[in-house]
Amino acid sequence: MFGHASPVDSSDGHTAPTAQLPRHIETLFESGRKKSVDLQRKTHPKDPLSENMIEALIRIRDNRDQDAFVTVFRHFAPRVKAFLMRSGADATLAEECVQEVMATVWHKAAQFDPSRASVSTWIFTIARNKKIDVLRKQRRPEPEDLPWGPESEPDQAEALGLQQESEKLGAAIAALPQKQRDLIEKAYFGDLSQSEIAEQTGLPLGTIKSRIRLALDRLRHAMDAT
């Protein structure tokens, strides 16, 4: 998970810990998925909130259910607004963008696949793209779609596995030391590069980089433990 261990951090010349960090996403989202399905009743109580959000999104997708839309809006709009304001939007612009992000959720609900992304992740990517469009005024280059075969039936077990991984990730983030968590939040939601974070906080760039690296390592370990 979270990319590759790069053997050399060329910007400050330090050698990163080279013990090849496991490429979790493969284990996590393939073998890990099956494993967690077996384990889930014993070890992971389901999170009722994320259950509700998945159900609501599926009701939007399949029944164009406006009550379900209100449910999703009430949960996510304050989060998307917080994200946009931390990226530099004022309250008025942030609310305009929130409306458009939530309308996009409604219109693109057919593309939501609970076996590929959690509701939070999916809405985060829509909000992020809105930020790039409105605040950074850039196009967003997206990767080529994978040449998947004919659309297969959504896999319940996969969706369940992914949901559990997402909950685990949420718990791992909540358990990060405050300083590391702050930096992860800044990296995602301050609209700052790592050098800009260094300028803003007055911390040396090397400190920023190593704290972010430590946070990622910690998350990798948390995701690896069963």
Partner: protein, 221 residues
């Protein structure tokens, strides 16, 4: 169809680039080279999905900001009455050199690239992105000799066709070199085939920086 493609790519994106792409904090030209590499590399595609999951989970934990009732009313109005033009990607035919993100920027296939000669048989085509970083396609004739050279800022080079080698190894299709200003390399183009790369630089263009490092070396500036 969903079988994993054999992954022959050995030079990947860094954590910093993956995180920045997911967070949406990179210059457009850098996003373009990330999206192009991810189009060719299943490992980095999976890593980007993991970083998106981190973004989603972090957004869940943000301190929320209250939203006005008018905002909800406006959203309901948008879903009931708003026109929705699905921003579908224009279908550009497959191309064995340019993955989709580059076809989007070229507006066609490799045959549609408007090359301009820059000397020694090297050609380039600058792609339209925001000016905080620049992206260009480079065409380098097979076997061109390369003098050692250093440069300013960060430079990313992604091989699309052919190959080059330097102290870090061999870079073939899909491999990305992440070079910083303190690096001194002497890349050598593959003798057997012309090389096409996507090069992105984040430094403001200086007089010597008119060409990315790799092209400077190839043309011997």
């Amino acid at each position: 169809m969903s079988d994993k493609r054999p992954n022959t790519i050995t030079h990947h994106l860094t954590d910093e680039l993956l995180l920045g792409y997911s967070a949406g904090t990179l210059p457009e030209a850098v996003n373009l080279i990330v999206a192009t590499h991810v189009s060719l590399c299943d490992d980095c595609r999976a890593a980007v999905e993991a970083y998106d999951a981190l973004g989603g989970a972090t957004m869940d934990h943000l301190e929320t900001v209250d939203v006005s009732d008018a905002c909800l009313d406006g959203a309901l109005d948008l879903i009931r009455n708003g026109a929705w033009a699905a921003p579908d990607r224009p279908l550009v035919p497959q191309d064995s050199v340019l993955p989709q993100p580059l076809r989007d920027y070229v507006g066609g296939s490799i045959e549609d690239v408007k090359w301009r000669p820059v000397g020694m048989g090297v050609k380039q085509a600058i792609l339209p992105t925001t000016s905080d970083a620049s992206a260009r396609l480079l065409y380098i004739p097979a076997g061109t000799a390369v003098p050692d050279h250093s440069h300013g800022g960060m430079e990313l080079t992604l091989v699309l066709k052919g190959a080059f080698s330097d102290e870090d190894g061999t870079f073939a299709r899909g491999d990305i070199e992440v070079a910083h200003e303190d690096m001194h390399h002497t890349p050598v183009a593959d003798i057997s085939e012309d090389c096409i790369c996507l090069a992105v630089t984040d430094a403001p263009l200086k007089f010597k920086g008119l060409l990315p490092r790799i092209a400077q070396r190839f043309v011997g500036i």
